[in-house]
């Protein structure tokens, strides 16, 4: 999956948008991985992720389907993958320091601004192994929703956050029917991997709502 690779937006906004994934590899380090993954997932919680989801639940941390203890307790199966999102680079750095110390041997992937990750890796003493670079969108790009909508929708790389839902949320914020935070939780819901960043979404809704033309009050 490359579902966090094509997040769009300004550099300033992407400065507060990172994803961290815990990925065991089938046939290489699956066996006995469950307790290790659970310990790493605990670090994600305690370091303050902006969003979080293990594949055992497929519900993000705002869904209220389980307490944090229940979410962690659900990680009992070898090979469980864990997805998370970070809006604060300092918290992300603390997480990576602790993950390095924990040395559980499971692959960790960070998605975000290359230059930021480079500096962080240097400071922590990590030796990044592989990079997956996005070469952008090709083909009939004129059919796409506009860039200001895509900066929301691409936070779910599986395209589960519909452009129409973003417009709906903008309309509701603009007309005072809801707050930018509440709408960001609405927008985070369809993302089954828990990598929609509601903090960044709140900022963007607040930025865009004043200038957004609504056709229906």
């Amino acid at each position: 999956m490359t579902h966090s690779l094509h997040r769009e937006g300004t550099i300033d906004s992407l400065e507060r948008d990172y994803c961290v994934f815990i990925y065991p590899a089938r046939g290489f380090n699956y066996a006995g991985s469950a307790p290790k993954i659970r310990r790493l997932a605990e670090l994600i919680y305690t370091c303050g992720a902006a969003n979080f989801c293990p594949t055992t639940l497929r519900e993000n941390m705002y869904s209220e389907v389980a307490t944090p203890e229940e979410v962690l307790a659900s990680i009992q199966k070898d090979g469980t993958r864990v997805y998370s999102t970070w809006n604060n680079p300092e918290k992300l750095k603390q997480l990576l320091i602790k993950m390095k110390e924990a040395d559980e041997g499971i692959s960790i992937v960070v998605s975000g601004l290359i230059d930021r990750v480079r500096v962080m890796a240097r400071e922590i003493g990590l030796n990044p192994h592989t990079i997956n670079m996005s070469l952008g969108i090709h083909g009939r790009t004129e059919l796409l929703p506009p860039a200001d909508i895509r900066q929301f929708t691409t936070m779910c790389g599986h395209a589960m956050v519909a452009p129409g839902l973003v417009r709906n949320s903008l309309r509701r914020v603009k007309t005072g029917k809801s707050t930018a935070w509440d709408e960001s939780i609405v927008l985070a819901k369809p993302c089954a991997c828990g990598i929609y960043n509601p903090y960044r979404s709140e900022e963007m809704l607040n930025d865009l709502a004043p200038v957004y033309a609504v056709s229906r009050w």
């Binding site: 990925y23 030796n127 997956n132 083909g139 369809p190």
Partner: protein
């Protein structure tokens, strides 16, 4: 997906949630346009309907329509990879698997992303263009591999041509010196498809997150700018299962 007309109260809440724009009013009730629906499951998963009128279409699990679901619903597992999602594990576990080595580069063509989805005839335009250009190194564990009728021609199964998917990933792993050729082919086929695809490359890093000069030179020469954000395997994994550990 289907909406049970006898239950729907026509509140319209489900409509904006559909990424494909497949839910519309028909009279006073909502209805799913079967052709547009990609069986992504979002409308059901978000549990927004106050009267539980939305339910799985039983035919969504029958071939050939089932390809919509497996390539559009991120919670539907693929039989080939055993993992949920649209591709294999690509670069994400490369520190453990060593799948992409120092001389190689991985290329992923994510058809239909973002948002638009793609009809299988358009996916075939890409697979045929790659085959014509002699590029046949399609990752065998990739779910899309199962859709091929003939790898040498890039033909997909004829009975799938009426289907659409939200996203499917064609993954290739080639020697680095083949990258410019592949990029040229993709640049041309991008003019033919009636939708979009996102493109990405993955390769090993040097010290201090140094990106392969050969890869950068290929992107530069073929006019492919890369985005400032990327996915980086930070090198904390290791293998311990005996049959694979080296």
């Amino acid at each position: 997906m289907i909406i049970r007309g006898e239950v729907c109260v026509g509140c319209g809440r489900c409509q904006p949630y559909c990424p494909a724009g497949a839910i519309h009013f028909s009279g006073l009730k909502s209805e799913v346009d079967r052709e547009t629906c990609l069986e992504c499951g979002t409308c059901l998963r978000v549990a927004i309907c106050p009267v539980d009128a939305i339910m799985d279409d039983p035919t969504a699990f029958e071939y050939p329509r089932a390809v919509r679901k497996v390539f559009s619903d991120p919670t539907a597992p693929h039989i080939a990879t055993g993992i949920e999602g649209r591709g294999t594990e690509e670069s994400k576990t490369n520190d453990v698997t060593g799948r992409v080595g120092p001389d190689s580069v991985g290329v992923a063509i994510e058809v239909g992303r973002p948002t638009l989805g793609m009809g299988l005839p358009d996916v075939q335009k890409i697979s045929r263009a790659l085959a014509r250009a002699g590029i046949t190194e399609i990752e065998p564990c990739n779910p899309i591999h199962q859709m091929y009728a003939d790898e040498s021609t890039g033909d997909l199964r004829a009975d799938l041509m009426g289907e659409r998917v939200l996203s499917a990933i064609i993954e290739l792993e080639v020697k680095k010196d083949r990258l410019p050729h592949i990029l040229r082919v993709l640049k041309e086929v991008a003019k033919e498809v009636d939708s979009v695809f996102t493109l990405d490359v993955y390769s090993l890093l040097g010290p201090d997150l140094e990106i392969s000069k050969e890869v950068l030179a290929a992107l530069d020469s073929e006019g492919f700018p890369w985005r400032p954000n990327a996915k980086i395997n930070v090198g904390l994994g290791r293998a311990w299962e005996e049959r694979r550990a080296s």
